[in-house]
Symmetry: C2
Subunit: 411 residues, 2 copies
C-alpha cells in the first residue's frame, strides 16, 4: 500500500453547501453541552438527568453477564429481529399489567432508549408543518428529536398539576388539525408535576373529540415516592394512545433500552422505520436486561431507588427552604428525578454564570420551551437523583449564595 493521498490539500469539499435543509434544525442539546462542562470534578451538578451511579445494580449485571454468556451467547451476540426479544416483552407485559396497561407481544417495540422512540414517532407521523401539542415547558429531547421533521408546535401552559385542560381545549378549538398531543403525566421533566386522574380523563376525551392521538411519555412512572399510582392515559384509551417508557431510570441509562406500546398497526410501521434506522436494538443488552428482570432484580432495585431518591428530594427541598430567598417558588414532586424552581425577577441564564463561579450547576428554565417561546427565563430545573445527600446540601447552599450575589447586583 504505497499510494497516498492524491488530492488532500489541493481540493476542498464544500461540506456546508452539501448539507440537507433539515440540518438547519439540528442543534446540540443545551443540556448535553452543559453536561460536559459541569462534569468538572469540583462542580456540583444539578444539571443532568442522571440516575444515581452509586446505587447501580452492579451485582445483578455481573450475574446476568455470567448467565447469558454461559447459556445463550450464540444468540445474544447475533443479529436479532427488529421487533425485539420476546421473553423481555413477556416480562414487560406482566409488569405493565400491575399499572393496568394492557400489552401483548404484538404491541411492544424495543428502542435505544426513549429518545429513539421519540425520533421514530417523528419519522412515522410528522410531515413538515404538522401541528403538535406539547406542554410549556416540555421535555427537551422530544423537541430535539422532532425539530428535524419541521412540525409547528402549539404549546399549552402547565400549572402545579401539569398541563391545563382548559387551555388545551382552547388550543384544540383554534387548531382543528393537530396531529398529536405529547404529555409527560408522571413527575414531569422538567416541571416535576403529575397530571391528576380528572385531567387524564378530560385529555382522553378532548383528544378523541378533536381526532388527534396522544403520546404518553412515562420514563419515571415507577419512581413514585408517595401517594397512589394514577391510571395511565394508555389504559384510559389504548386505541388512541402511544405509550413510551424506558429502563434508563429503573435499571441503567448506559444500556440504551426503552420501549413503545401502541396499537399493532402502529408498531408494524415503527418496526419498518427502525429497520431502516439501525436494524435492531443490541441483542446482548436485551438479553442482559431480561436476565436481570426475570430474577426479580429490577423490582428490587426500583424499591431501593425510590427510597434513595425520596431522601435526596427531601434533602434538596429542606436545603432550598434554608438557602433560597422568600420570593422563590418550587414544585414538590411525588416522584421522579427533577424539581422546578422559579425566582421572580432573576434571569437564570445569567444566574448560571455566577453559579458556575460558585461551583454549582443547573439547567436554565428557558431551555425547556419550544422554539419561539420566551418563557421560563426566571426558572430552573434541579436534579435531585444524582448527588448524595451531603453534596445536595452543599450544592444548594452554593446556589443560594449565587442567587444572593445576583440579587445584590440587581438591586
Amino acid at each position: 500500500m504505497e499510494v497516498q493521498s492524491r488530492f488532500d490539500g489541493q481540493w476542498t469539499t464544500d461540506w456546508e453547501g452539501k448539507l440537507a435543509k433539515r440540518t438547519e434544525q439540528m442543534q446540540s442539546s443545551v443540556i448535553r453541552e452543559l453536561l460536559k462542562f459541569t462534569m468538572l470534578p469540583d462542580v456540583i451538578s444539578f444539571a443532568g438527568g442522571l440516575p444515581a451511579p452509586d446505587v447501580f445494580p452492579v451485582r445483578a449485571f455481573q450475574e446476568a453477564c455470567a448467565w447469558v454468556l454461559r447459556h445463550d451467547a450464540q444468540k445474544a451476540l447475533q443479529y436479532s429481529p427488529t421487533e425485539g426479544y420476546p421473553p423481555l416483552k413477556d416480562y414487560l407485559i406482566e409488569t405493565m399489567a400491575k399499572y393496568n396497561i394492557p400489552a401483548v407481544q404484538g404491541n411492544i417495540l424495543f428502542t435505544n432508549g426513549s429518545q429513539q422512540a421519540l425520533d421514530l414517532l417523528g419519522r412515522v407521523f410528522i410531515n413538515e408543518g404538522d401541528k403538535i401539542i406539547t406542554g410549556r415547558p416540555t421535555y427537551l429531547g422530544a423537541i430535539q428529536a422532532w425539530n428535524v421533521y419541521s412540525p409547528q408546535y402549539v404549546t399549552i401552559p402547565l400549572d402545579d398539576q401539569g398541563m391545563r385542560m382548559d387551555e388545551l381545549e382552547k388550543a384544540l378549538e383554534a387548531n382543528p388539525d393537530v396531529k398529536f398531543i405529547y404529555v409527560l403525566p408522571n413527575f414531569h421533566n422538567p416541571a416535576g408535576t403529575t397530571l391528576p386522574l380528572e385531567r387524564r380523563l378530560r385529555l382522553v376525551e378532548l383528544a378523541a373529540q378533536h381526532g388527534c392521538f396522544i403520546v404518553e411519555d412515562d420514563p419515571y412512572g415507577q419512581l413514585r415516592f408517595e401517594g397512589e399510582d394514577i391510571t395511565p392515559i394508555f389504559t384510559l384509551h389504548k386505541e388512541n394512545t402511544i405509550y413510551l417508557s424506558t429502563f434508563s431510570k429503573t435499571l441503567a441509562p448506559g444500556l440504551r433500552l426503552g420501549w413503545i406500546v401502541a396499537p399493532e398497526r402502529v408498531i408494524a410501521k415503527l418496526v419498518q422505520a427502525k429497520q431502516g434506522t439501525d436494524l435492531h436494538t443490541s441483542t446482548l443488552v436485551q438479553y442482559l436486561a431480561h436476565d436481570i428482570c426475570q430474577r426479580g432484580l429490577v423490582r428490587a432495585h426500583v424499591k431501593k431507588i425510590r427510597r434513595v431518591y425520596r431522601e435526596r428530594r427531601d434533602v434538596m427541598l429542606q436545603a432550598m427552604e434554608e438557602h433560597f430567598p422568600p420570593s422563590a417558588t418550587w414544585t414538590r414532586p411525588h416522584g421522579g428525578l427533577f424539581l422546578w424552581a422559579c425566582l421572580p425577577g432573576l434571569d437564570t441564564a445569567e444566574l448560571l454564570k455566577i453559579a458556575v463561579e460558585e461551583k454549582v450547576a443547573f439547567v436554565p428554565g428557558h431551555a425547556f420551551f419550544p422554539p419561539g417561546s420566551d418563557d421560563g427565563r426566571n426558572c430552573m430545573r434541579l436534579n435531585f437523583s444524582y448527588s448524595r445527600p451531603e453534596t445536595i446540601r452543599e450544592g444548594i447552599a452554593r446556589l443560594g449564595r449565587a442567587i444572593k450575589r445576583m440579587m445584590n447586583e440587581t438591586d
Copy 2:
C-alpha cells in the same frame, strides 16, 4: 386505579390517515422478512448475512464483562457523550493506521452498527430529489436507510472488479448535480467483488472533478483471505470521503457497534443528528468492545474467522462446481461473507419457492437493485460464513436439485 377504558371500542383512530408521507417509502426489508422464515430449524439458509455463531469469542466477552463491571461499572452503566468512548477510538485509530487510514479522536463517531451510520448520512445530506450514485447491485440496507429521505438513485453497473469507472464517468457527465457516490470497495455485498487500486484512484479523481463526495462502506475490509490489502479510498482523499465500518463482522453483530470516520466538521453535524436520534450508543457495549480490543482479542479473533470463512468459501465454491449447471457463473470473492451467482434463463424469485421445498434458502438477486430497476432476476446472493462446511455441502446439493427441477419445468 379503578377507572378503565373510556373510549376503546367506541372510537377508532384513523392511524393510516395520520402517517407521514415518507412512510410510503418504508418497506420491510426483503432480507429480514426472509430471515424469519428461513430460521425454521431444518432449512439450510444462505440467505442472511450472519457471522458464524459457532466461533463467537465468548470467552473474551466473559472476561470483558467481568473486568468492566468490577472496575468501571458506574461509568459503563451511565449516560455518556454522543461522540463516543475515547479509549475505544484510540484503539480504532491504531488499527486503522495499519490500513493507512488516518484518524484522530475528532473525526470518529460511534453508531449502532453501520446501518445507523447510513441513516445519519441520509439525515444530514439528503434533500428530497437529491441524486446519489450507487452500484447496480448494491447493499440493500443503504437503500432502505435512504429511501425515507427520497433521493433519486443513479446506478452504475458492476463487473467482476466492482463498479465500472467508464460508466461512472458517463453518469457524472449526464448528472452534474450528484451529491455523493456510495461504494463498497472490499468484498462487495452482494456481489463479492473488490475494486482494484486503479479504479479507486479513478473514482477519487472523478468525484473531485465533479464536486461530489464518496461514501466508502467497508464492513468486511479486515476479512481478506488471500491477496494484498488495497489502499482504502479514504486514504486516497480523506478530505472528500466518509468511511464506514463496524464491529458486526469482526466481533459480534448483536452488539450493534459501528463507526464513521469523516472530516471533523462532518462529524460535528453527525453528532448533532445522533443526539436527536438516540443520545448515544450503549455505553456498556462500548466499554465491553474496548476491553476486548485492548487485550488484543479482536485481532486474534479476526485471524481465526479469516481461516474459518476461507474454508467455508472454498467448500461452497467446490460444491457449486459439482452441483450447479454449466450455464451458471459466480464470483470468487477474496474475502467477506458473500458470493453472487447468476443462472441465465432462471427467475431466482421463482427458484426460491422450489428451494424452500428442498429446505434451502438464498436471497434472490433482484432484492439488491435500487427501486425501478429490473436487474438481477437471474442472480442470487449466497452467504458462506454462517453455516458449517458439511452444512454448506448439503445446502448446495439441495440448491442444485432445486435448480435442476426448475430447469426441467422450464424446458
